[in-house]
């Protein structure tokens, strides 16, 4: 009986490869789809104005481009002292999506971007767009969310790098199922 149950579980994970198993399990705990942020300076500096996006959400070339123009960072001045800028750029590069293919989301994002393109907004990457295009605009523009850039508004474990469906709660709506 136990064997059958295990088999069913395995079969389930194969069939629903993009469902609730999508971020995979390791020793009972979900493995992050993107490596969580593990840099205090990054959290302090970048996370003071917005969600501290994981470095594994963009490839190296994107971070380089973004960090070269902090004076005009999405129409806001986010300039840093040069030493801090260099330290953070090094952290971003080391953990960028193109070097983090062991993390499922990083790999998918990285592979989705044509090599001729260097997006600086995660929301402009093809994989991100593909994952979010079905979401009705009214859920996005409501004041609790405001923008698709506000990951943690709906992804309740975004800070842990967990973006799977089982950790989605859209304000004033609830769970989101693709099926």
């Amino acid at each position: 009986m136990k064997k059958i149950f295990v088999l069913l579980l395995v079969a389930g994970s194969l069939v629903y490869g993009d469902g609730w198993f999508e971020e995979g399990f390791s020793f009972g705990a979900k493995k992050a789809g993107v490596k969580p942020v593990d840099n205090k300076l990054y959290i302090e500096e970048c996370g003071s104005c917005h969600f501290a996006y994981q470095p594994g959400l963009l490839p190296e070339r994107s971070w380089k481009k973004l960090m070269a123009n902090l004076e005009d960072h999405f129409q806001t001045d986010a300039s840093l002292e040069e030493q801090d800028r260099k330290t953070l750029l090094a952290y971003l590069i080391k953990n960028s999506a193109d070097k983090a293919h062991q993390y499922k989301r990083s790999k998918k994002i990285d592979r989705s971007i044509p090599s001729s393109q260097t997006p600086i907004a995660i929301t402009q990457t093809p994989y991100f767009k593909h994952e979010h295009y079905e979401i009705p605009k009214r859920f996005i523009i409501q004041k609790e969310v405001r923008s698709l850039a506000n990951c943690a508004a709906c992804h309740t474990k975004a800070d842990k790098g967990l973006y799977s469906e089982s950790f989605i709660a859209i304000p004033n709506y609830g769970r989101w199922d693709d099926d």
């Binding site: 104005c49 917005h50 004076e71 001045d77 986010a78 300039s79 506000n150």
Partner: protein, 138 residues
């Protein structure tokens, strides 16, 4: 007569905010710079600072903005970043003692925020005025 005696005391009380040594030094630097730029300079002003903090300007995004757009009118309360919605801890040191303790951080935010609201950097006098306003506002 009483008023004559009280007036200077009041002024002192207003600027008696207890900065730590690195911030005291920074305020002195701003004072010296302000004197250099304006021979009539006679100290930082709470009311000029209030004007800087609360007046509206066409900011970096091409829209009307004021410092209070993000920091709110009550500096002892949380503010909210108007672009991202992220909560900003209170600016007032009376509610948030970490504020105005690190010169590096103060310089960074003055640089960024003057550019966002005024599309230019602030002068030494303006920086000193706005700090004076924020730390003393009740």
């Amino acid at each position: 007569m009483k008023q004559f005696i009280l007036a200077p005391l009041l002024v002192n009380a207003l600027f008696a905010f207890d900065f730590n040594p690195q911030m005291q030094k920074y305020m002195q630097q701003l004072t010296q710079e302000a004197k250099k730029q304006n021979s009539n300079f006679s100290g930082f002003s709470y009311s000029r600072g209030e004007q800087i903090f609360t007046s509206k300007h066409i900011g970096k995004k091409g829209k009307m903005i004021t410092c209070t757009s993000c920091h709110g009118d009550d500096l002892t309360q949380n503010g909210k970043n108007i672009s991202t919605g992220k909560v900003i801890e209170p600016l007032s040191p009376s509610a948030n003692p970490k504020r105005f303790t690190k010169v590096k951080s103060v310089k960074k935010w003055l640089r960024r925020n003057f550019r966002d609201v005024y599309t230019r950097t602030g002068t030494a006098q303006e920086k000193g005025d706005v700090i004076t306003y924020i730390v003393n506002k009740k």
